[in-house]
């Protein structure tokens, strides 16, 4: 097809099958790897980077690289999380082990780069590899006179809900000088940990350590990190009038727009196919299926990183690349030293 013969390798989403369209010259998918051509072809474009969320394009790379970075971010970049819970007293209805598990999943603000890995899980914790917290809370009746007659739980009881803001940081060694409570504690203050009634009590000591997502998903620094290929939609002929609006409704909002021509005709045009979900709704209409070609560009990756909040997404990405770099460097060193 003429319209899609260009420089980039594409997959074509047809009605019942997916085919590939490769340009005549070598592409990143089949050429011999050389760092020179890699450097020439590779491009990064940052689309947005705000509120712990980042979207950027990696253009001109082989899929293995995008996948490697995704895997590194998810399970090799470290973060801090509660690993041990010492329970002195728990008279609430939530069982010890369930409570401990819930506490482990609370995201912490502490910057993992400022801590060391704990060499041995059974070793005594110290100021460089652990953070300690305390959770001491007791539920009681609310004795305030003006709220006596209320039957709302928040009026009747005190501390009936235990939130992450009730965790108290206990500095170990020189941590008091190095950190502030707001820099190491839970990222969100209102994570519900347990519900209690008068007489229920919690008395816990918690220890957070540094580890990576490979050990346990709670150590993953991201809520999610994923990539997708850039969708590209092309129209092969004019679609007018009612059909134009029908075509528009087949795609995500903003993908197709309807333009008013001078002679009063309404014509469908592709506005921006980037945010299309690649659903194949068009193929439901006999009269529209021949008007569009849906493709994806195989060396254009839209990468999205959603940070949990301890590190900014750009820092997480850089950490991931550095981890791979250092891994290669230490393996090379070993190979060279044994010869």
């Amino acid at each position: 097809m003429e319209v899609i013969n260009d420089e980039s390798p594409r997959v074509i989403l047809e009605e019942y099958k997916v085919t590939q369209n490769l340009p005549n010259g070598p592409t990143v998918l089949n050429e011999i790897f050389s760092i020179k051509t890699f450097k020439k072809k590779f491009r990064i474009v940052i689309i947005r980077n705000e509120n712990h969320e980042m979207e950027f394009d990696m253009i001109g790379i082989h899929p293995f690289l995008a996948n490697t970075f995704r895997r590194l971010i998810l399970s090799d970049v470290p973060s801090m999380a509660i690993e041990k819970v010492y329970i002195s007293n728990n008279t609430s209805i939530i069982q010890d082990e369930v409570l401990a598990h819930r506490l482990g999943l609370i995201p912490l603000k502490a910057d993992p780069r400022l801590f060391d890995y704990k060499e041995d899980a059974t070793a005594e914790s110290n100021e460089n590899d652990s953070l300690e917290f305390e959770l001491k809370i007791k539920c009681s009746y609310n004795k305030e006179a003006n709220k006596k007659d209320s039957s709302r739980v928040e009026d009747m009881y005190k501390n009936n809900n235990v939130y992450s803001k009730h965790l108290k940081w206990i500095p170990v060694g020189n941590q008091k000088e190095r950190f502030n409570e707001s820099d190491v504690g839970p990222i969100e203050p209102d994570i519900l940990i347990a519900k209690m009634r008068p007489g229920h009590e919690l008395d816990l000591k918690l220890v957070a350590v540094k580890s990576s997502g490979r050990d346990h998903a709670k150590f993953s620094p991201v809520a999610t990190a994923f990539y997708r290929l850039l969708p590209d939609i092309k129209l092969l002929r004019d679609v007018e009038g009612e059909a134009a609006y029908r075509l528009q409704s087949c795609f995500s909002p903003g993908v197709i727009s309807v333009r008013n021509e001078k002679d009063g005709k309404k014509v469908a045009v592709v506005n921006n196919s980037r945010y299309d979900t690649s659903s194949r709704n068009v193929y439901r209409y006999e009269d529209l299926k021949d008007a569009v070609v849906m493709t994806k560009i195989q060396d254009h990756f839209i990468f999205t990183i959603e940070s949990v909040g301890a590190m900014q997404p750009d820092v997480i990405f850089k950490e991931a690349v550095n981890i791979l770099r250092n891994k290669c460097a230490s393996l090379l060193e070993e190979l060279n030293s044994t010869s």
């Binding site: 990064i44 082989h62 895997r71 460097a329 393996l331 090379l332 044994t338 010869s339």
Partner: protein, 99 residues
């Protein structure tokens, strides 16, 4: 030691064209990226990797050469992957500071 080999003696002073290396504590992340780079080299006849058992953190990495030493292809692959990281960091930082 993170790299061993499956059979034969000595990791690097062996001139064998075909070899299986065993990486300790590595998995698909390194295995697949290294495989993709090394298998594109023209002097490499075959390159593949496997994680034989999910409970064992070992990765087997096989290289078979048309000519040359398998160990050299592995070294070249690691060097290339390292440079890929450098270029990525460089381009990412450039873009981060320009926007």
């Amino acid at each position: 030691m993170p790299i061993a080999q499956l059979s034969g003696s000595g990791v690097t002073n062996d001139t064998s064209k075909s070899k299986t290396f065993v990486f300790q504590d590595e998995g698909h992340t390194l295995g697949n990226s290294l495989r993709c780079i090394i298998s594109s080299y023209p002097e490499v006849q075959f390159c593949g990797y496997t994680v034989p058992h999910p409970a064992e953190s070992k990765m087997h990495f096989r290289i078979q050469m048309h000519n040359g030493k398998a160990i050299d292809a592995l070294k070249k692959g690691l060097e290339d992957l390292m440079q890929v990281c450098d270029v990525t960091l460089e381009k990412f930082n450039e873009e981060l500071h320009s926007s």
